[in-house]
Symmetry: C2
Subunit: 338 residues, 2 copies
């Protein structure tokens, strides 16, 4: 089995690749498991060293739109499954409209057209986002989002993801691909460097203090957030690829499970895990740009469809922090409480 | 004031142009009324003779995607309002995927990009469709569609229209245009020739018998349908252009009002208006292709948002037929009952 991961050198892409390599086998859309022979990581940068060292990993470094043009990229033809994670993130798309339209709108359409032209009908998992839901004075979101809630995106990123979902649904209905769209929740704790996502501080406010660094907490404590750990997020992405058609059901995007919490509760969890030494490093400096985006996102979901697929949310954010500490020991300088 | 109507030589486009010419003045987004100096009808064919004879009408004959490329089309720059009605219709888009993606997806995106590049911020009314709602076994529609119902399109046409709505919403939020999307109901009775719309028979089953011609009635009598007369439809489109921002409210597309009826009730109305001589001309021959599309569409709407804008549905289909008879006397051969 050949797999392509767009955005494959990014945090989620690389973690997905490691998960798949560790398993060694995968079922696609309910078919029997098969060995994973190759995973191509398509990204603008080279993959992390551990992945590059694995014989089953191939790297395709370049711009996704370029890789979709012409006839250069043989890996599309061989792909039994494509995980489409590449995207410009929310803050970037709000700051640079053309970047988002190119990286999210045009690239997703281009990927679907490339796969359709090949006629290979691969499984395609598209990573959408809770950002398709946007609260506004003219159209307030319900307090609890469920599987039937109408998305009314309030960011260009959310619109672009929602359009991607629609394209994936129709290319699937027409039989061009076997598409499944999953709406990722706010992923925390992400390791590594901050990116341009407006949600970036939801990781930074944990990661940086644990590393002994000051971190911004740019929105009020009571700001609600629907969190999923990296592990739960990858679980959802893999389940989307594996589920049989009958189990998967509707072509509408699936809301992945999330832990409903708040910025204040996250800070309290950080203090329980790493003490005042950690929370003393939080700078509660409001950022209007980030606040404007984040406050439109919903914080509370009911996800019966995901539950029926066996997907569950993280139970306690303390455990999410502890998992990060276990997985990123080199990035943690503070003393962790037992 | 300069106005552009894409699809301006089509039935709805021409009727809209006649309505605007008769009024002579228009308010845009709540601003004071101004005189209409020019209406450019952009279409692949020339406008009807009555419109071509009006000094205020300009005609731009060509493919919309071509008219959006390059720097040839000065009418975009001068437009205070654009009514974007041009589209490939449902049956065509299902039969020819590329045609729909070019005529609906690419053209709507191209129009928005053209207007954005000009920086003129015109009012843009986008004609979407009830076809964004699609019933399926995996995701049944509710019995009553309201302003918060999640669209789950089951046709390529519905997907393309729904994507158009999202683009219009974001280009509006960003301030590139002043967009308003209206979801048209099934328009009946359309005069003239049948087109490639799966919904075409909803007009043909009335229009052809009235002309003394046999007509297909390709779906069961109990098939529900949400009907709007041409007059009510144009009313909704004009109201969308005129409404002030506060009245218009959310950037989500507006469901226009409709009369909930069935194919059987429409035939009964035809018989009341024109007798058995009319209904004897109906051929009840099932058409699986049309049936597959039409059965996914909803028949019953509650439209409080449209009501608040003063928009109402037709009350009786008999009156809709009689209005058609009045407006198209040359196309009616049967004797009409008083």
């Amino acid at each position: 089995m050949h797999i392509v991961i767009t955005g494959g050198a990014g945090f989620l892409g690389a973690r997905l690749a490691r998960t798949l390599l560790a398993r060694g086998r995968l079922s696609l859309a309910g078919a029997p498991e098969r060995d994973i022979e190759r995973i191509t990581l398509a990204d603008r940068v080279a993959p992390p060293a551990d992945l590059a060292a694995d014989a089953r990993i191939a790297s395709a470094v370049g711009d996704l739109n370029d890789q979709l043009r012409g006839d250069g990229a043989a890996f599309w033809r061989e792909a039994d499954a494509v995980f489409h994670l590449a995207a410009a993130v929310s803050g970037e798309c709000e700051a640079d409209f053309d970047l988002g339209m190119r990286s999210n709108f045009a690239a997703t359409h281009g990927l679907l057209e490339t796969l359709r032209a090949l006629g290979t009908r691969p499984v395609l998992v598209f990573s959408s986002s809770l950002a398709v839901f946007g609260d506004s004075p003219e159209q307030p979101l319900p307090a609890l989002i469920d599987d039937h809630t109408l998305p009314t995106p309030q960011t260009s990123y959310g619109i672009q993801k929602f359009i991607g979902e629609q394209l994936v649904a129709d290319y699937t209905r027409r039989g061009f691909v076997q598409g499944r769209s999953v709406r990722l929740m706010t992923v925390s704790v992400r390791p590594g460097q901050p990116n341009g996502a407006a949600s970036g501080f939801f990781s930074g406010m944990i990661r940086e203090p644990l590393a002994g660094l000051r971190a911004a907490c740019p929105v009020p404590d009571e700001t609600p957030v629907a969190i999923a750990s990296p592990a739960r997020t990858i679980e959802g992405i893999v389940r989307a690829a594996e589920a049989g058609n009958a189990d998967w059901g509707a072509r509408t995007a699936l809301n992945l499970p999330s832990l409903a919490t708040t910025v204040g509760e996250m800070a309290a969890a950080l203090e329980r895990v790493a003490g005042r030494a950690a929370t003393d490093l939080l700078d509660r400096t409001p950022d209007a740009t980030i606040g404007r985006i984040v406050k439109t996102w919903p914080g509370r979901f009911d996800t019966p469809r995901a539950r029926a697929l066996g997907l569950v949310a993280d139970e306690r954010f303390d455990d999410v922090i502890r998992a990060y500490v276990r997985e990123s020991p080199d990035a943690v300088k503070l003393v962790i409480r037992a």
